[in-house]
């Protein structure tokens, strides 16, 4: 079976070798990378720009961006026809290729996140080593050794040392913001620089990708935060009853953090939509040779996906929901889910939409996402593979949060 033939349906004249080669995993790739960058930017709003109201959120989104990190390259590996050769990119990086920059930018970014987290948690590591000293039992011993290793031998708990840590955090976060932006911007560059593709070829592509990345990252952090806080509240209610003081404290903290964060979300949402519309209007106004086929893809073939699902359901509806005063958690959850869906649809419409028309400008290709896998290819590049990618950061967070607790709420 030829790669791509399984899910591609051609109409009118399409060159013989054309298929939808970049499928769901290449939709997932900028989506997950965007979440990483967005989560980091959110944490930096506190660390760099001193947004004190985001303190609670900052630590969580930083750890969450660490969990999202390995997942950013997972779709790429699942998409490769020769996944075992993926490491060749590091052996023979070809510097004229935008993809080749991935290894370098990604490693730099990973190092920055890891370093920042280390400075944030250093004092905690040392405290844990002291707390677990002398305790019997395998689990406690293992934890103590783990924290001992993680502390890297820096045991100084003096105020002076803690202040130095703080300064280091600020520095790392400030370097991290442009690198996170670059990491995602260049994901947009990978598409924007493909001159053969009329839909992708746009210098705006990297900026559009960065904006929607921040939107999706903030939305996901907010959503995960709500879920965790609701769970805590539920546990507190079970233990002490509904009217307990602690339940009220959790609810208060949750609402306060959410209402401030949603303001940032709206800001980035407006920027993202404006840029995308600008791109669309510009193409329509300049009417290059490719406009005929782009117009038929946008306004006929993919109209529902672009205007109803992405702009309507994914952008306009959540924007209105966030705008209405007197936000409730329930309404916020719906808005956040729609925002995440909207960003996903944007990636889908860029990646799949860009391949929906033939390079001959005379025919169309339709992508049928494989739902039930019947071989490795339909597993990797189908619903199952995409779900695997989506689930991984949460599984990682569950594990990592045990070592780096990021959601401690002070007892009421």
């Amino acid at each position: 079976m030829v790669h791509g033939a399984e899910w591609t349906q051609k109409t009118l004249f399409v060159y013989p070798n054309e298929f939808i080669y970049w499928s769901i995993q290449i939709v997932m790739y900028p989506y997950m990378t965007g979440l990483v960058a967005g989560a980091f930017v959110l944490s930096s709003l506190y660390h760099v720009f001193g947004q004190k109201d985001l303190k609670e959120m900052a630590r969580f989104s930083l750890v969450f961006s660490l969990c999202l990190l390995p997942v950013a390259m997972m779709p790429l590996l699942l998409h490769l026809q020769q996944p075992f050769r993926g490491i060749n990119v590091m052996f023979t990086p070809h510097f004229t290729s935008a993809i080749a920059a991935f290894g370098i930018v990604f490693s730099t970014y990973a190092a920055i996140v890891a370093t920042e987290i280390w400075f944030v948690y250093r004092v905690f590591f040392v405290e844990q080593v002291h707390a677990l000293k002398g305790k019997e039992g395998f689990a406690d011993n293992f934890k103590r050794i783990l924290y001992l290793v993680l502390s890297l031998g820096a045991f100084d708990l003096s105020e002076e040392a803690a202040a130095k840590d703080k300064r280091a955090i600020t520095i790392m976060a400030s370097i991290g913001v442009p690198v996170a932006g670059f990491l995602h911007g260049y994901a947009g560059f990978i598409f924007g620089s493909v001159k053969a593709n009329a839909l992708w070829m746009s210098p705006l592509m990297p900026v559009i990708f960065i904006m929607s990345a921040v939107v999706s990252g903030i939305a996901l952090c907010m959503l995960t935060y709500i879920i965790i806080m609701e769970w805590k509240k539920f546990k507190a209610i079970l233990a002490r009853g509904r009217g307990d003081e602690r339940v009220k404290v959790i609810r208060g903290v949750e609402m306060e953090v959410m209402s401030t964060t949603s303001r940032y979300l709206m800001m980035f949402l407006v920027a993202a939509i404006s840029l995308e519309l600008l791109d669309l209007i510009f193409r329509g106004y300049t009417q290059m040779k490719s406009w005929d086929i782009l117009r038929s893809v946008m306004f006929e073939e993919d109209f529902v996906k672009i205007f109803v699902l992405q702009y309507g359901l994914g952008n306009l509806v959540p924007f209105i929901l966030l705008l209405i005063p007197g936000t409730t958690i329930k309404r916020l959850v719906i808005a956040l889910l729609l925002v995440l869906y909207g960003v996903f649809m944007m990636r889908w419409n860029v990646v799949i939409g860009g391949q929906a028309f033939s390079l001959s400008f005379e025919g169309f290709m339709h992508y049928h996402l494989p739902v039930i896998p019947h071989n490795l290819e339909t597993f990797k590049e189908g619903v199952a593979g995409a779900l695997m990618v989506v689930a991984t950061p949460f599984i990682l967070f569950w594990g990592i949060n045990k070592i780096l607790p990021s959601l401690t709420v002070k007892e009421g």
Binding site: V2, H3, F13, P16, F19, P83, V89, P93, A196, S358
Partner: protein, 257 residues
């Protein structure tokens, strides 16, 4: 443990630097890359000449190419193909290439549409293959350098090094690239490099009964192909992408995509 942070950072930094020195001295080349880099072929630049006035769409070239280059015969991908153009009186262009024209054009129907002969203004065939661009977008985007250009201008793919990301397939404006169904790596026409480097014509040139396809050395002014390209009016496909294709067409119609 007595280790100040400053000392720790210092030793980490020097350790990393010391470790990176021997690593930076290494440059790993894949065998074909190193071969291409050391082969001196400055007197040759392969170019292709296609006469659309001579092509009848028999598909012998497509068949010969599939056999010569081990592209599975029944797979819907091909290194070269022939397009049929039918321009009707209403100004519309109808194009098709069933199976890449492997079995020729045996039906009057074009994309399941019957066109009455009296409606037709003009009709012609256009063979396509890799343009072996002077400025190839595929070579530029390959993240591992698995697709590369030889000294004599032919773009080749190292099957042992390609990671199968498909970036080159996306970057080619001519849609000539595909994933090889057996080797699971990017594939495309090589101008039959294994033949031309031995002085033989490409499989498609040899198979063409009408002489619609020709290959020649553009550096040799006495080469018949070069003579035509330099003295007659020829055109290339999709010039606007700036890839500088090296496949030249005689009688190229404005409707060709």
């Amino acid at each position: 443990m007595s280790c100040s942070r400053r000392k720790f950072l210092k030793s980490t930094l020097s350790g990393t630097l010391a470790a990176s020195v021997p690593v930076s001295a290494l440059k790993i080349l894949s065998p074909s890359e190193s071969k291409a880099a050391t082969t001196g072929t400055e007197n040759t630049r392969w170019g292709f000449l296609i006469d659309t006035k001579k092509c009848v769409g028999c598909g012998m070239c497509v068949k010969a190419c599939k056999n010569e280059n081990a592209v599975p015969y029944d797979a819907p991908v091909t290194r070269t193909w022939v397009e049929r153009y039918v321009v009707t009186r209403d100004g519309r262009t109808h194009i098709d290439s069933p199976n890449g024209a492997r079995d020729g054009f045996t039906s009057q129907k074009i994309l399941d549409q019957e066109i009455r002969p009296e409606e037709i203004n003009k009709t012609f065939f256009v063979p396509k293959l890799c343009n072996q661009c002077e400025n190839p977008a595929c070579v530029q985007v390959c993240p591992v350098g698995a697709t590369y250009q030889t000294g004599d201008g032919v773009v080749l793919i190292d099957r042992t090094w390609c990671i199968g990301c498909g970036y080159c397939i996306m970057a080619c404006p001519y849609g000539v690239r595909f994933f090889h169904p057996v080797f699971k790596v990017a594939d495309k026409c090589t101008f039959c490099y294994h033949r031309i480097s031995k002085g033989l014509p490409t499989a498609c040139v040899q198979a063409c009964p009408f002489g619609a396809r020709k290959i020649g050395n553009l550096m040799d002014p006495d080469d018949p192909v070069t003579k035509i390209i330099t003295t007659e009016r020829v055109a290339v496909l999709k010039d606007e992408y700036g890839t500088k294709p090296q496949a030249f067409y005689i009688g190229l119609d404005m409707n060709v995509r």
